[in-house]
């Protein structure tokens, strides 16, 4: 999905680094990467290190780093456009759960066109772009780790080192302590059932939790009010 934008911008001092957060490792991530044949670095993060370092709690998430290695936009939802399949009519044969998931997915904040336009502006203008944030604003948006989030991180890391029921106990504790960390939830759910449907281990899945939350709150809206550094 990022290929076109990367091809457009790569000769202007810009690079994309995609990072797959996947506890199961290459065997899961590889299928997608082999299909995309990316020319940019395409990395595997099998321990959710980026969650720990940058506070990433869902995907897709983008982070902008300038030529000096400074963050100029902290983690936020990042789509290169609106996925075309979302707006295709659904055939009658689609099963009810998938129909439900797609119905909710259509309501998510994606704002891909705005995001891509902002990225182009930054690549063209650098620090003069209103989308490149200064250090105080970056710090404000990054915010703080709560004591609960810190405990959740320890439980999630422990869970990734365990299997079966022993892991589930710690995944569930991470979910309880930091309920809005969708990376913790979706990773754990997918280890049990790829479709992330309710089951004997996890009584709710993606569809149930997104419906309960309200799909419009799943991805926070982009904070794009122009701000000068």
């Amino acid at each position: 999905m990022w290929r076109e934008l990367r091809d457009e911008l790569k000769d202007r001092g810009f690079e994309v680094v995609t990072v797959a957060l996947e506890t199961r490792g290459w065997k899961e991530a590889r299928r997608w990467i082999d299909a995309a044949q990316p020319e940019h670095p395409s990395l595997l993060d099998a321990t959710h290190l980026l969650g720990e370092l940058y506070g990433i709690v869902n995907v897709p998430t983008g982070v902008w780093i300038d030529e000096q290695g400074l963050l100029v936009r902290p983690p936020e939802p990042a789509f290169p456009g609106r996925p075309a399949f979302l707006d295709q009519p659904l055939p009658d044969t689609v099963n009810p759960r998938l129909r439900g998931v797609l119905t909710e997915a259509r309501k998510l904040n994606m704002e891909g066109d705005r995001y891509a336009a902002a990225l182009r502006d930054w690549v063209a203008q650098g620090a003069d772009s209103p989308y490149a944030l200064g250090p105080e604003e970056v710090a404000r948006r990054l915010g703080e780790r709560s004591p609960e989030a810190c405990r959740a991180a320890a439980h999630f890391e422990l869970a990734q080192n365990l299997e079966g029921e022993a892991a589930v106990v710690h995944f569930k504790e991470a979910h309880r302590l930091q309920p809005r960390n969708w990376a913790y939830k979706r990773q754990a759910w997918s280890l049990v059932d790829r479709t992330q449907a309710p089951n004997a281990i996890y009584p709710t899945g993606w569809l149930e939790e997104v419906r309960a939350l309200g799909a419009e709150f799943y991805y926070p809206p982009l904070e794009f009010e122009p701000e000068q550094r």
């Binding site: 995609t18 940058y54 000096q68 989030a149 320890a154 080192n161 365990l162 022993a166």
Partner: protein, 111 residues
């Protein structure tokens, strides 16, 4: 960090937590938190985690310890934390190797 014992090598502790253990305590930049001197080249998570505000879990059945980050700012300053991860073409890729260019890090997942 996850370990099978609460005693971990000082170098490992420093690498994983970003704290440097000095005679005056655990230091990061100009901040030092007094700690009991480590016994030899090992540090006991049970005695340091609480003082550094880091949660320490023990799963006795699994025989594992896990120490989480300390509450507070996600990042100190705006410097993007560096990392090195395996690239799909083989070998490792280090973020800092792109210094001098603008970078979009795009976290995604198969799930």
């Amino acid at each position: 960090m996850v370990t099978s014992a609460p005693l971990v090598p000082v170098a490992e502790f420093e690498r994983q937590t970003g704290w440097e253990l000095k005679p005056e305590g655990a230091c990061r930049g100009s901040l030092c938190i007094p700690l009991p001197a480590p016994a030899g080249d090992q540090v006991d998570l049970r005695s340091v985690a609480g003082k550094l505000g880091m949660p320490l879990l023990h799963d006795a059945e699994a025989g594992l310890w896990a120490m989480g980050p300390a509450p507070g700012p996600v990042l100190e300053g705006a410097v993007a934390p560096d990392f090195t991860l395996p690239d799909w073409r083989g070998g490792d890729f280090r973020l800092a190797s792109l210094r001098g260019r603008k970078v979009l890090i795009l976290a995604w997942a198969p799930w």
